[in-house]
Amino acid sequence: MQIIKGKTNIDFIGKRRIAVFASSVLNIAILVGIALFGFNWGVDFAGGTLIEVQFKKSITAEQVREGAVKGGLQEPQVQSIGSADENTFILRMGGVTQLTEAGAKAAETAIKALGGVEVTTFNKDLDNGLLTFRTKGEVKVDDIKAAVSGSGTGVQSVTQLPGSSAEAGFEYQVASAGMSEKVQAALIAGLPGTKFDCENKEADCVRRVDYVGPQVGAQLRNKGIAALLLAMLAILIYVAFRFDLKFGPGALVALLHDVVMVAGYYLVTRREFNLTSIAVLLTILGYSINDTIVIYDRIREEMVKFKGKPLPEIINIAINDTLARTILTGGVTGLSLVGLLIFGVGEIFDFAAAMLWGIVVGTYSSIYIASPLVIWLDEREAAKAKAGGSPSGGAMKAKTA
């Protein structure tokens, strides 16, 4: 069986100007789009709390949202994942703990209003949802808990800190309950009949809770992007070393092109951009460089075989010769993703869909971006050489493997 019978002779390179132009426009549009609208950053990068809930009864995302608002949440983001009959939703909240600036003030007032308490210092740590304060006399832990809860902030625990004594004063720490508890409480209040218990097959279930602090989020993002850039640079160096300096930029630009195009997927679909998205970008990077190298390798080989032929023609031959392989590999890798597309929900589905798009883009860029750039660099060198009076023109020299 063969996809392509005999030799093809399609003029890929002849259309390179149109392709490069179209790609450039699209790339710039995506970059502008990112600058204007930004990604839908996931909690991995933006910080915040993510909760995945599965309901037993049939319910829509809009109903979940309304219920959560009724239960006291402000602007929850609700997204349905999987098929409709799975009734599974992701709720995202900006905050990390229940403690807000206003809540901390209210709690301070409530604690100070407790009978016979003289508060000497009062510290709040909003990032971690902790309140620490020192009093002259001893206070009952339960009283503090009741006071803070009464002021509107859920309490996880109240502890008397070590070193408390009659002379030094008594120090207490209030740990506010997390955002996930607030969300659960809101859903229970807003949607009658909701009961969370994953052990019980008949009850609803909180399947996942992710919380990422704002500082760590920024750190994760920067590290992810740094890794991406460094990987690209290393690939450029290897390609320049193994092939020719003129090949390196083409491979790099093709990689950048693919990364931007896949980023465009996240921009347009508004899918969450998180650590898994970085993994997708990395996969595409690997796939695209593989594809580009295969074509480059063929170009290098044909250059030895057809010495003296103009480079565009050689590249055309190389692309045509490898066409069957290009289609096959892309198709087969796509085929292996079919399983993920059918059975994947949420993150896995997003992963497979973005990958599929990336494979299309990666295959395209090897032909229309990476190769034309080699021609362009070659032409420039030829023009320079002519200006310099060298008669030999721009024939590239091939390094044999």
Partner: protein, 593 residues
């Protein structure tokens, strides 16, 4: 068939068999053991057949696949260091004051760790500068302007103190998690300022707050003789047999790590604590000492000690260090109190010479050295002579860290928590495996149809490639995560690509009219460099991601690296061994491709 072919065949068979062998513990842990016991190495060892690979080479599932909590704590090393600079500045002032060299005032910059010292009398500064630089060797001079001297903490010292702050926080965190009794906890340093904790099976992410809530409580409490207290307790009100509490009457450890008179021992900390709660008597308390496993990773069991209810707080400790005393060749831990602590210590030790001093961290009795003298601001603990030297030094370092943890609390905050319910984890495994298998099946069927026999050969390589990736992950003790599965899919794609490249080449050579055997050999030779280049570039990317990435990115990179190496082997060596046999070995004149 020449000799090199036989050698290569032997290699391929050995690798394939080795791979299956190394995967036996993984198979048993995932499919034979109950889900609850999946992480229990001891139970795994029991069910493994005698010929199996060691249980430690098993592929464990990442928290995203098996459920549990992943936590990242950030240690605010900068603040800790800023405070340290402030304190050192104060020490300089009092040191110079003590030497009667002049009056100084110090201001520390908590960002740059610079200490600006101003002398009341500018003329005295020359002498002060000389004295300070000779004594405070961790500082170097930045500038000097008449009576104003600026000193800066050396970069090497800054790095050391930062790492030290993280180590201290790690120790405290480990001790606290230990209290929860969670099996298979993994605590490790992440980067320069974070601690990563994996708690498989743990359900309540809010408990993480217990780890950061307060700073560690370190105390010195005098150990009381407990006589027959535990023996009487054990005989009069025997514990519930299921609690696993036993009475130990003979002294087992000659080095004072365990009490001399009958004591209680148990593996379940909470049950043991509940049993002895309030049984110490007036003004006394029963505490537990954790007898650690040889690798110091977790508690083997807990034994009971009786101590006084009140003691000296570690708040007043200024520092502690473990070192080898060259004069006596003993391993010692030296520590230092501030002035107030020194007075309290003098008082406490003076009254109790000859007794044991219990060093208690968060209600855990870490060590109980004998008090030899009245100890003021500076004290020294000499470690016993049991165990090997290396292990003792490690113990000393842990003790020094514990002592310091009372002295330099670096603020710790929660950077990240990720909790996955076990139900979701199971579902992800099920769906992930189904998805991967469906993808694999589609590819296998397609290759067989498209390339006929050559496709079947490629399929064999593909399946072996999959096995090798799993083996590689198991060998390196890596965990299989969701991004890891993504890396798996990519590598399978690349492995298929290698075979496609080879087969297309062979077809080309056949189309050019070459004989079957020549076509196969040239096809392989020509495709080799293409495959090599493509694999190496991806490998480079993989290594960089492995080095610079965090969490999921790293999991992806590990799978990718192992997969690429496996793919090079399967596509270049394995398929060629089979194809060579099919063509040369059978003297074929046609190729099924």
């Amino acid at each position: 068939m020449d000799r090199s072919w036989w050698t290569r065949l032997a290699l391929v068979v050995a690798v394939a068999l080795g791979s299956v062998w190394f995967l036996t513990p993984t198979y048993y842990s995932l499919f034979v053991l109950d889900r609850a016991d999946r992480n229990d190495v001891a139970k795994l060892e029991k069910v493994l057949p005698f010929w199996s690979a060691p249980a430690k080479y098993r592929l464990s599932l990442g928290l995203d696949l098996q459920g549990g909590i992943h936590l990242v704590l950030r240690v605010d090393t900068k603040t800790a260091l800023g405070k340290r600079a402030e304190r050192l500045g104060q020490q300089m002032v009092s040191y110079i004051d003590g030497k009667k060299l002049g009056k100084l005032s110090a201001v520390a910059n908590t960002e740059t760790y610079e200490v600006t010292l101003t002398a009341a009398d500018a003329a005295a500064m020359d002498g002060i500068e000389k004295e300070l630089l000779a004594t405070f060797r961790d500082f170097s001079k930045v500038s000097r302007n008449a009576g104003v001297l600026v000193l800066k903490l050396d970069a090497a010292q800054v790095d050391f103190l930062m790492a030290d702050a993280v180590d201290q926080a790690m120790l405290v965190v480990r001790k606290r998690i230990d209290k929860w009794g969670v099996a298979e906890v993994d605590v490790r340093k992440l980067g320069t300022d974070s601690i990563q904790i994996s708690l498989p099976g743990e359900k309540d992410p809010e408990r993480a707050k217990e780890l950061i809530g307060t700073t560690a409580q370190l105390e010195f409490r005098i150990v009381e003789a407990h006589g027959d207290l535990f023996k009487d307790l054990y005989t009069n009100t025997p514990p519930d047999p299921s609690a696993g509490i036993t009475l130990v009457t003979s002294r087992q450890d000659p080095d004072g790590n365990e009490p001399e008179t009958p004591y209680l021992s148990g593996t379940d900390k909470n049950k043991l604590l509940a049993y002895v709660a309030g049984k110490g008597g007036e003004g006394k308390q029963v505490l537990l000492h954790c007898v650690e496993t040889p690798n110091n990773k977790s508690c083997l069991r807990y034994v009971t000690w009786l101590v006084q209810a009140n003691g000296l707080s570690g708040e007043n400790l200024v520092g502690a260090d473990a070192y080898n005393d060259p004069q006596t060749n003993n391993i010692v831990v030296s520590y230092e109190f501030n002035e107030q602590g020194g007075k309290l210590s003098e008082d406490l030790t003076g009254k109790n010479i000859g007794r044991l001093m219990g060093i208690v961290l968060d209600d855990n009795l870490l060590s109980a050295p004998v008090i030899r003298d009245k100890i003021g601001t500076r004290g020294q603990i000499t470690l016993g002579r049991s165990g090997n030297r290396e292990q003792r030094f490690k113990e000393a370092q842990i003790l020094a860290l514990a002592l310091k943890s009372g002295a330099l609390p670096a603020p710790v905050s929660i950077g990240e928590t990720r909790q996955v319910g076990a139900a979701l984890g199971d579902e992800l495994i099920k769906k992930g495996t189904t998805a991967a298998l469906v993808g694999l099946a589609l590819v296998i069927v397609f290759m067989a149809i498209y390339y006929k026999l050559a496709g079947v050969v490629a399929d064999v390589a593909l399946v072996l490639n999959g096995l090798l990736i799993l083996t590689g992950l198991a060998l390196f003790n890596a965990t299989l995560t969701l991004p890891g599965i993504a890396g798996f899919v990519l590598t399978l794609g690349i492995a298929v690509d290698a075979n496609v490249l080879i087969n297309e080449r062979i077809r080309e050579e056949l189309a050019a009219g070459k004989a079957a055997r020549v076509a196969v050999d040239q096809g392989y030779d020509r495709a080799f460099w293409t495959i090599f280049d493509a694999h190496i570039t991806t490998l480079i990317a993989g290594f960089i991601l492995q080095q610079t990435g965090t969490g999921p990115v790293q999991g992806f990179a590990t799978t990718l690296i192992i997969g690429i190496i496996a793919s090079l082997f399967t596509s270049i060596v394995v398929t060629r061994v089979i194809t060579t046999y099919l063509v040369h070995g059978r003297n074929a004149t046609t190729v099924s491709i």
